[in-house]
């Protein structure tokens, strides 16, 4: 990649917080560092990954409304976690966490455990007990 051909495709994925560093060549083939705000294939790959997450969240929200799934599943996905990671944070087995994904298992949760989940998800407990997918934060 030549230094004057380093793409600068800004999709605001870096939110102005930084520019990333790429290595590119001078005319003689020697290398220099060049800052960039982004490249379209990268930006598309990232937005695709986020779209996938948002689609999954919508489906889970519908399942919660239908009384099938629980907010635990929703927030796990929202926090980009997978069951083994969530189980580690909770200090319980993966199979128990999975049980809490269902509305029935969720209903049986103690206050203490709910608070622990809320801490892990970095939300107030009410976001779990009074679930509302339209909340922004």
């Amino acid at each position: 990649m030549k230094k004057d051909e380093v793409p600068q495709d800004d999709a605001n994925v870096l939110e102005g917080k930084l520019k990333t560093l790429k290595y590119a060549t001078n005319e003689d083939g020697s290398y220099v560092q060049v800052q960039t705000v982004g490249w379209e294939p990268e930006n598309l790959a990232l937005s695709q990954a986020w779209e996938d997450i948002h689609e999954r969240l919508e489906i889970i929200a519908q399942d919660i409304a239908a009384g099938k799934s629980s907010p635990i599943l929703y927030f796990m996905e929202k926090c980009l976690m997978e069951p083994p990671m969530l189980a580690k944070h909770m200090g319980i087995g993966t199979w128990r966490v999975k049980r809490h994904f269902k509305a029935k298992g969720f209903a049986k949760l103690s206050q203490k455990r709910l608070e622990k989940y809320a801490y892990v998800f970095e939300v107030p407990v009410e976001h779990l007990t009074q679930f509302d997918p339209t909340r922004t934060s």
Binding site: M1, Q48, C79
Partner: protein, 335 residues
């Protein structure tokens, strides 16, 4: 304690932390030099280990190894500690800062608020330097950032004690004995030989050049095997591993070429220049793959032929790299 620290931005966090910590000790080695000496370049494709549903693919060696190998080969003694609990980890860090020692810590990207939100996935092996403290805030030199920044104690604690794959367990590290009269040449030789050997000879079809061929073979089958949607996500994940923050472009191939260029001068071996140009070329080819892949997942249509074309590019990369690494492996270094 607001200690002084020279922040230099790098493409990849681990290279940057090593390069900057050594710079603080008076040793000026560039990011590519650290990457080369630490044998950072690698390839692994482990389809049965899924990360967020995608086959585990990496263009680099396992986190932590660049630091280990680079310091080891330069004869630099370092101290590395992990902790049973987060409070102890923070106390030890505080004690270090009190003594004015800039300290490398392993963190989870997810809990670093100064990073762009879209990049904050649960990647647990992000390395940063903490070089001071100002009240409840820690002073951060994160190598991928343009400049130094700050983080709240509570956030840093979470970041250092994140759970899951590659959990940091409060890991912190810093050089303790830096000899200034080290010899760079043997370190460069060991770095090159190790990388070439790993890329060519591991007898498992998931690693090195064999891994790249295996990846190409699987890419051809993805749309059929997992469906268009998932195949698109798999391709997207590949592009991210190859290009996103940290690789310097072209799946670390450009950084590696930059290393070989520097090495050519230090070793007085012009033949390294030629091989470096080969890596520049192959890095560009990897970027052509990324363009091809992004066309596929942008359209979200299954043009079966496109997956074949994308796989063909990967095969071409593997072919070229096989030649380049063989050349590196057969180099006769001056005694």
């Amino acid at each position: 304690m607001t200690n002084k620290f020279n922040h230099r931005q790098s493409a990849h966090c681990e290279n940057g932390v090593v390069s900057n910590l050594l710079y603080h000790e008076g040793i000026d080695l560039s990011e590519p030099m650290i990457f080369g000496i630490g044998s950072g370049l690698f390839f692994s494709y482990i389809p049965f280990v899924k990360l967020n549903g995608n086959p585990g693919t990496s263009f680099r060696i396992y986190p932590g190894y660049i630091y280990k190998r680079a310091t080891n080969r330069l004869g630099i003694k370092t101290k590395m500690r992990t902790f049973r609990n987060a409070e102890k980890a923070m106390d030890a860090l505080d004690a270090n800062l009190e003594k004015g020692i800039p300290t490398g810590v392993q963190t989870s990207v997810y809990y670093l608020p100064y990073l762009p939100s879209q990049y904050r996935f649960h990647f647990n092996a992000h390395n940063i330097v903490i070089y001071g403290k100002d009240g409840e805030e820690y002073l951060v030199s994160d190598p991928v950032m343009d400049d130094v920044t700050r983080i709240k104690r509570s956030d840093l604690m979470r970041a250092r004690y994140a759970k899951g794959v590659l959990a940091p367990s409060g890991k912190m590290y810093y050089p303790i004995n830096v000899a200034k009269d080290f010899d760079l040449k043997p370190a460069i030789i060991r770095g090159i030989q190790h990388t070439a050997k790993d890329m060519l000879t591991i007898p498992v079809p998931m690693f090195g050049i064999k891994g790249i061929y295996k990846l190409a073979k699987d890419v051809r089958k993805w749309p059929e095997k997992v469906g268009e949607r998932k195949a698109g996500l798999h391709l997207g994940n590949l592009v991210r591993m190859q290009e996103e923050i940290g690789t310097g472009g072209g799946g670390f191939r450009f950084i590696y070429a930059a290393f070989l260029k520097e090495a050519a001068v230090i070793m007085d071996m012009p033949e390294l220049n030629e091989i470096a140009d080969g890596f520049t070329k192959v890095g560009d080819r990897w970027r052509e793959f990324a363009i091809m892949a992004s066309k596929i997942f942008k359209q979200r249509t299954n043009v079966q032929g496109d997956y074949q074309l994308a796989a063909d590019i990967i095969v071409d990369c593997a072919d070229q790299e096989k030649v380049l690494f063989t050349k590196l492996r057969n180099l006769k270094f001056p005694a």
